[in-house]
């Protein structure tokens, strides 16, 4: 059978948002992008874990916002959302805390009524906070018995330093000392007009916009958070022994820079070529050629004032050193020879395809918008990003790789037997 012709994709169209600025300065971005009868609103606060001074206070704040408000108990909130089939999601990373509500359009009013209470009037009841801390402590202990979780923690500590805001982890016992006052203080300091923006998308109406603005306009003013993240203090190699583990979790990488840095996109292309898709170099080498692993990946991660490059694979214990050798070999190859045209075009297609897939369905566009606003830009960035991916040359990529990925600059962490 003849292969069908390849239709080269037109550049994906990046939907632009409409900005509404509230009286107190809070920004609401809207996207009317669905006829499917669904709406989604996200409230984004500059309140990630790197802002906390008391261990676990940042995650406890976003996770207990719904545990009781001035008008509704925890159970009433859950009941009301479940009754209309809406759901909410609380998400936190090192820099940001994001609260998202999804609802059928016909039940948006009921859902926004809950969102308003949760965002503006949480009471952090003593009892609920206690239950939360006890539960999370147990869950964390469970997590820390898993090699892959330990591997993530060890890698963060090893590239940034054990006390660095982007590397620190706390003992599970710190949950015993966390109080509702710690949480209430974190909330009042960080959940303010200056620290917030919102994104509303889907099958939205003027009423939905007005309701969201009404919530945002009630956010109190606070101080504008400023900080300087200290320089990372990396260790070249770290190992953690887990008895009886049949696999080793390997991570290799180093701290670099945020997305605003001119070399971020080239590093992202390099990461994709190394381990961002099934045909990537690490997958071909470790999985397809050697059968060391079920999966290997590489990524460039963006943080507010930093970023890092990471390669990762869970390999059979007996192949630990061999797999590290192959991973380093793939990096070296990148530094010493330019990518072929076919591979580079392939990697561009992968990145274009990923962006187009995110734009399929109404909610993905909102996620892209959130990330762009977090990086102090807007959706025109995504167009420039795609342009840069399309024009970056193999020589430029090799230079960037040689600049940042020399072997002695990389940290290697191993968790396993």
């Amino acid at each position: 059978m003849q292969r069908p012709p390849i239709n080269l994709t037109p550049n994906p169209r990046v939907p632009h948002t409409t900005l509404h600025t509230c009286d107190n300065g809070t920004r609401l971005y809207t996207l009317h992008n669905s006829k499917q009868g669904v709406v989604r609103v996200s409230f984004i606060f500059r309140a990630g874990t790197s802002w906390q001074s008391v261990p676990f206070s940042a995650s406890a704040t976003i996770n207990t916002l719904s545990e009781g408000t001035e008008r509704f108990s925890s159970l009433e909130i859950a009941e009301r959302l479940d009754f209309v089939g809406s759901y909410f999601d609380a998400n936190i990373d090192r820099d940001w805390a994001v609260l998202t509500y999804c609802s059928l359009s016909k039940f948006a009013a009921e859902t926004f009524e809950i969102a308003e209470q949760v965002v503006l009037h949480p009471t952090f009841p003593e009892r609920e906070v206690g239950v939360y801390c006890a539960k999370r402590k147990e869950q964390l202990i469970v997590q820390r018995s898993k090699p892959d979780h330990l591997s993530r923690e060890l890698f963060g500590q090893s590239i940034f330093g054990a006390d660095h805001p982007y590397g620190i982890t706390s003992p599970a016992e710190a949950y015993d000392r966390l109080t509702r006052e710690d949480i209430a203080l974190f909330y009042s300091t960080h959940y303010t007009a200056e620290n917030c923006f919102a994104v509303l998308c889907g099958d939205i109406t003027e009423e939905h916009i007005a309701h969201t603005k009404a919530i945002l306009e009630q956010l109190p003013h606070g101080v504008i958070d400023k900080r300087t993240i200290p320089a990372p203090a990396s260790t070249p190699r770290a190992e953690l022994k887990v008895d009886g583990a049949v696999q080793s979790c390997l991570k290799i990488g180093r701290p670099l820079f945020p997305r605003t840095h001119p070399d971020f996109v080239p590093m992202q292309i390099i990461s994709t070529a190394l381990g961002g898709y099934f045909g990537s170099r690490l997958m071909q080498n470790l999985r397809e050629r050697h059968g060391y692993t079920y999966g290997a990946y590489a990524a460039m991660i963006n943080l507010d004032q930093s970023g890092y490059f990471v390669m990762s694979a869970d390999v059979a214990s007996e192949y630990t050193e061999a797999a590290i050798g192959e991973m380093l070999h793939e990096v070296e190859r990148f530094c010493s020879e330019p990518m072929g045209d076919n591979e580079l075009q392939m990697v561009r297609n992968i990145i274009f395809g990923d962006v187009m897939r995110i734009f399929d369905g109404p909610f993905g566009v909102a996620d892209v918008t959130i990330e762009n606003i977090q990086n102090s830009t807007d959706n025109s960035y995504t167009e420039r990003f795609l342009q840069q991916v399309a024009t970056c040359t193999a020589e430029q990529l090799q230079q960037v790789a040689a600049k940042y990925l020399q072997k002695d600059l990389l940290t290697i962490t191993t968790v396993g037997e």
């Binding site: 292969r3 006829k35 479940d82 089939g85 147990e138 018995s145 059968g291 395809g353 109404p362």
Partner: protein, 412 residues
């Protein structure tokens, strides 16, 4: 609500098409009516191993992934007890590339000793990563073998042991391919901004020449319920004690399936559900708990499970789970609560149909079940279920006499 048209080629390939005018992407899904339930008890894990081999290339297309990536596409696959599903999404202008690739590997796969060896070691690593290298990893192997005595559901999709995968021969792999990977055993579904007629015409062009072979016939899935309770305790270095109770439930096509789906939602569908509110939040018996159904075509499992808070005994935890069942069967379930779980189904169905991939996958799944009316009609079945039906089901079916209980005790 998913609109669709369907058409069957002369060689038996069923084709379904949904037109989505909002999306720039196309999803091409191909479902083969073969899963771990079609394996012999001596070669478990075979269907899943074969899913991996489908990516190993053909004479015409040495690497499946390359042409996909050249058209900005992405693909993946999964295997269940009942079927194996392959999907690819790409900009809609290139949807024929998806059809071309699937037609090519439906009958042209390279199967040789060398590719088989590499893929075996990948699957054995997957076995280790998911089932051996983590706490509670072997729980499904144990639990399934406790409930199922004759049904092929007694082994998990990954297989009983890595040895079965290690021993698979090239001849066995070829025979499996010829028996199941044929037009009459497959369902092709497409969701994109493309006229259904154009999809059918393209399907004819790419798949029409493939041979007409008898459709694979499925063996007996039936499993008799347990005659008395079974119980197993595993002492292991797990982070917390855990209890899991399994009951054999009705087949996918029976009303009891929907009753079980609703009643597990009453117990654990959302923050306000009973198990979460009563046992996690109020009584603090479990740090995490859940109730769900496994959803096979034949008799599947209804599962109640929880990880115990420290200081709670297994006896207390077990009693608490049965107390929730007693409440369901003895105290009338209010109209409000029933309405809540039914609304949730409606919302989840809408949220589950927002992109082309999910729509193409749903089309294939319901065609595999053999009743396309269910695709948009299941919500009416859920809406028709009464509180009395649920109570009766719990009282007669979810009883200790019919239970399998697996307990993990943390070693000191």
């Amino acid at each position: 609500m998913i609109d669709f048209k369907q058409h069957t080629l002369a060689n038996g390939l069923r084709v379904l098409a949904n037109r989505d005018e909002c999306s720039g992407m196309a999803a091409v899904n191909i479902l083969y009516a073969v899963g771990s339930a079609d394996e012999s008890a001596e070669r478990t894990g075979f269907a899943h191993l074969f899913e991996h081999l489908m990516f190993r290339g053909t004479p015409a297309v040495p690497s499946y992934d390359t042409p996909v990536q050249e058209v900005c596409g992405e693909n993946n696959a999964f295997t269940s007890a009942d079927y194996t599903d392959f999907y690819v999404t790409m900009p809609k202008e290139n949807f024929e590339t998806g059809l071309w690739l699937e037609a090519d590997r439906m009958r042209g796969l390279n199967i040789d000793a060398e590719t088989l060896e590499v893929e075996k070691s990948v699957v054995i690593e997957e076995f280790r990563q998911r089932y051996l290298n983590r706490p509670y990893g072997e729980q499904w192997h144990t639990l399934r073998s406790m409930v199922y005595t004759t049904s092929p559901y007694r082994w998990p999709v990954i297989g009983l042991t890595p040895d079965h995968i290690r021993e698979a021969s090239v001849e066995e792999v070829r025979a499996f391919y010829d028996r199941f990977y044929i037009p009459s055993g497959a369902i092709l579904s497409v969701s994109a901004d493309i006229e259904p007629e154009r999809v059918f015409e393209a399907a004819e062009r790419y798949f029409g020449h493939l041979p007409t072979l008898p459709a694979p016939v499925r063996g007996d899935l039936h499993q008799e319920p347990l005659a008395g309770p079974v119980r197993k305790v595993i002492e292991a270095p797990v982070p917390a004690d855990q209890i899991t109770i399994a009951f054999l439930m009705d087949r996918r096509s029976e009303r009891g399936y929907y009753i079980c789906d609703l009643l597990t939602d009453l117990l654990a569908g959302g923050e306000s559900a009973r198990i979460f509110q009563h046992l996690v939040k109020q009584k603090q018996i479990f740090s995490a708990a859940n109730a769900y159904i496994t959803g096979e075509v034949g008799e599947g499992l209804l599962i109640l499970t929880g990880q115990l808070c420290s200081g709670v005994t297994i006896e207390q935890a077990e009693e608490a789970l049965y107390e929730e069942l007693r409440l369901l069967s003895e105290e009338p379930i209010g109209e409000y609560e029933l309405q809540k779980v039914k609304n949730k189904f409606e919302a989840n169905i809408t949220f589950g149909e927002l992109n082309v991939m999910n729509k193409a996958m749903n089309l294939g799944y319901y065609a595999m079940l053999g009743d396309m009316a269910l695709l948009n009609g299941e919500i009416d079945i859920y809406r028709s279920i009464t509180a009395e039906e649920i109570a009766t089901y719990v009282r007669t079916r979810l009883v200790p006499q019919r239970s399998a209980t697996l307990i993990y005790r943390k070693t000191k």
